[in-house]
């Protein structure tokens, strides 16, 4: 019992040490994190003011109010790149091996990564909320439902964390980040993030409706009370359930895959 508590104590302490490592990166290289935080802001401005004027929502409503929930979810999806770069970089530079050769808690490597990346995403969301408020976005359904929306966003981020860890361990080469970015973009565009799927050809609309990102976006539009065409599709009607189910399903697949991949590093 004491030994178990001792092990747990070290796991917590090691997790905090790994988290602090990332926080120290922010302090050492502030430019890097500021650019990461401002990139989604740039996209908001680009789509909100450059393209947004040309988008007429089928159900009416303000385009920037429609856009912001999509931008929140997109910021969570981009987290996959942060996680991937960190995990692949450590693997390539031998830092992962150093962690594995010292008497630290093995689970702390992943737990510390999770805490650091979630903190990064909370910060990213905060910046996006400020940005949203500045361009006219509001939440209309009360603080409780808004909090539920942010919880759904962080759940999506947590799922992306496991996908990112798995990809980082499988690929193991940080220079492949560009490839991941190229894959992430169509995932963002073929969804309800920027335009309502109803305006797409039927087959593409179906893909966009079933995109896991769309589930979260539709659900939080509903929770924030932002305009979102209430289509008659199954995906649109069960948005909140899907916004829970999709990330949980991704976690159920990728958390065991990533854990097994980490354990198999000794093969």
């Amino acid at each position: 019992m004491t030994a178990m508590l001792g092990r747990l104590g070290w796991a917590v302490a090691d997790t905090w040490t790994i988290t602090r490592r990332d926080l120290t990166h922010w302090v050492n290289q502030p430019a890097q994190i500021v650019i990461g935080l401002l990139f989604p802001v740039m996209i908001v401005l680009m789509f909100g003011y450059l393209f947004g004027g040309a988008v007429a929502l089928p159900g009416g409503g303000d385009y920037r109010e429609f856009l912001m929930p999509g931008m929140f979810a997109m910021t969570m999806l981009f987290g996959i790149e942060t996680t991937f770069a960190a995990v692949a970089g450590d693997a390539a530079k031998g830092v992962t091996d150093r962690f594995r050769s010292i008497p630290m808690s093995g689970s702390a490597v992943v737990a510390g990564r999770s805490v650091a990346d979630l903190l990064n995403s909370v910060l990213g969301l905060a910046v996006m909320v400020v940005c949203g408020l500045a361009v006219g976005w509001r939440f209309h359904e009360g603080a409780g439902r808004a909090a539920a929306a942010f919880a759904l966003l962080l759940l999506l981020r947590f799922a992306m964390l496991w996908v990112g860890i798995w990809l980082g361990l499988v690929v193991g080469r940080p220079e492949m980040l560009a490839a991941i970015q190229i894959l992430v973009w169509p995932l963002t565009f073929v969804s309800n993030t920027f335009v309502p799927p109803e305006t797409m050809p039927a087959w593409l609309a179906a893909v966009a409706q079933w995109n896991p990102l769309s589930a979260t976006v539709a659900a939080i539009r509903d929770l924030f009370g932002n305009p979102g065409p209430a289509g008659a599709s199954f995906a649109a009607e069960h948005a909140v359930a899907l916004a829970l189910a999709w990330p949980l399903a991704l976690i159920a697949v990728f958390a065991p895959l990533a854990t097994r991949r980490y354990r198999d590093l000794n093969r």
Binding site: H25, N28, Q29, R98, M104
Partner: protein, 314 residues
């Protein structure tokens, strides 16, 4: 073989294959406590695989290994508390300063006074005044020293150095060698892998030559060198037509058949006693009036060690 308290590293019949090809093929190793053992071999001989198994990063397919008395398969945590590992990459966080790196690894190794340990190591490796500069902006030699410092955080009983000087310039290499000699004076057992006979010769008390995943020769550097025919003499002639005559002369003063390389006008031969051989050689050249552009006495290269040990197989 025994696993007496005097043995720091013991490996018996280690086997490991990747996708059907054997990286280790029954490797045995026995390093006494306090010794520096050099694992010498070409790329792909199994040196890194051996180090990775002994440092618990990799599981062997068969065989057993004890490091500082702990079984690598059954008690990896015990092994990790007793070892330091300095791999081929400088495995440090490039966005952290040297001090931040060492403090992090000290904390993760569950040392009480992490900051003090970091300070000690920074001072010892001449990194104390690097301040907040991220390790990514260090020179190659500095990064290697930081890497070595990180490997020493736990005051390990056994230190693994995997090709510690590959890619370093001569100055940085000498610094690394000095650091390793200091460690040994402090009683640490060192297992180092290298492709360079000279490095093994300078640092190691004992050398194990590895080829195709097994130890093909072991002994002190002196023992191995005398077994391998000791020094070589190289003669470079001015005129290519003299090659045959020089080969004939060297056959008389040398221990084995001379090897001629017409492209560079060079003939070389292993010799027993280099001063006497050199005397005989210069006298014979003068008698036959052959102009030599260069005459050099040198240690055998790794290629020649291998040719000798494997009978030309490799």
């Amino acid at each position: 073989m025994s696993d007496s308290p005097g043995t720091a590293v013991l490996a018996e019949g280690l086997r490991k294959s990747y996708r059907g090809s054997a990286a280790l093929d029954g490797l045995d190793l026995d390093v006494p406590a306090g010794a520096v053992c050099g694992l010498l071999g070409p790329n792909g001989a199994g040196k890194t695989t051996t180090v990775r198994i002994l440092s618990t990063l990799l599981r062997a397919d068969a065989g057993r290994a004890l490091v500082a008395g702990h079984d690598v398969a059954r008690d990896p945590a015990g092994v990790r508390r007793s070892i330091g590992l300095v791999g081929q990459h400088a495995a440090v966080d490039e966005q952290l300063s040297g001090r931040q790196n060492l403090e992090m690894f000290a904390r993760l190794s569950h040392l009480g006074a992490a900051a003090r340990r970091a300070d000690e190591l920074l001072a010892r490796f001449g990194l104390a005044d690097t301040g907040r500069k991220p390790a990514g902006r260090y020179s190659g030699g500095m990064r290697r020293r930081l890497d070595l410092a990180a490997g020493l955080i736990l005051r390990p009983k056994v230190l693994f150095l995997d090709e510690p000087t590959t890619g370093l310039d001569p100055g940085a290499r000498n610094e690394m060698w000095d650091a390793v000699r200091d460690l040994v004076a402090g009683g640490t057992t060192v297992l180092l892998t290298t492709q360079y006979l000279e490095e093994a010769d300078r640092l190691a008390d004992m050398i194990c030559v590895i080829d195709h995943g097994r130890v093909i020769a072991r002994g002190t550097p002196e023992e191995l060198k005398s077994r391998l025919g000791g020094d070589r003499i190289d003669v470079v002639v001015r005129e290519r037509r003299d090659l045959a005559a020089v080969t004939e002369i060297l056959a008389k003063v040398g221990l084995a058949e001379p090897r001629a390389e017409p492209a560079v006008r060079r003939v070389s031969v292993p010799v027993e006693e280099r001063v006497a051989a050199l005397g005989d050689l210069t006298r014979a050249l003068r008698e036959r009036d052959i102009a030599a552009e260069d005459i050099a006495v040198r240690r055998p290269t790794l290629d020649e060690v291998f040719l000798t040990l494997t009978g030309g197989r490799s």
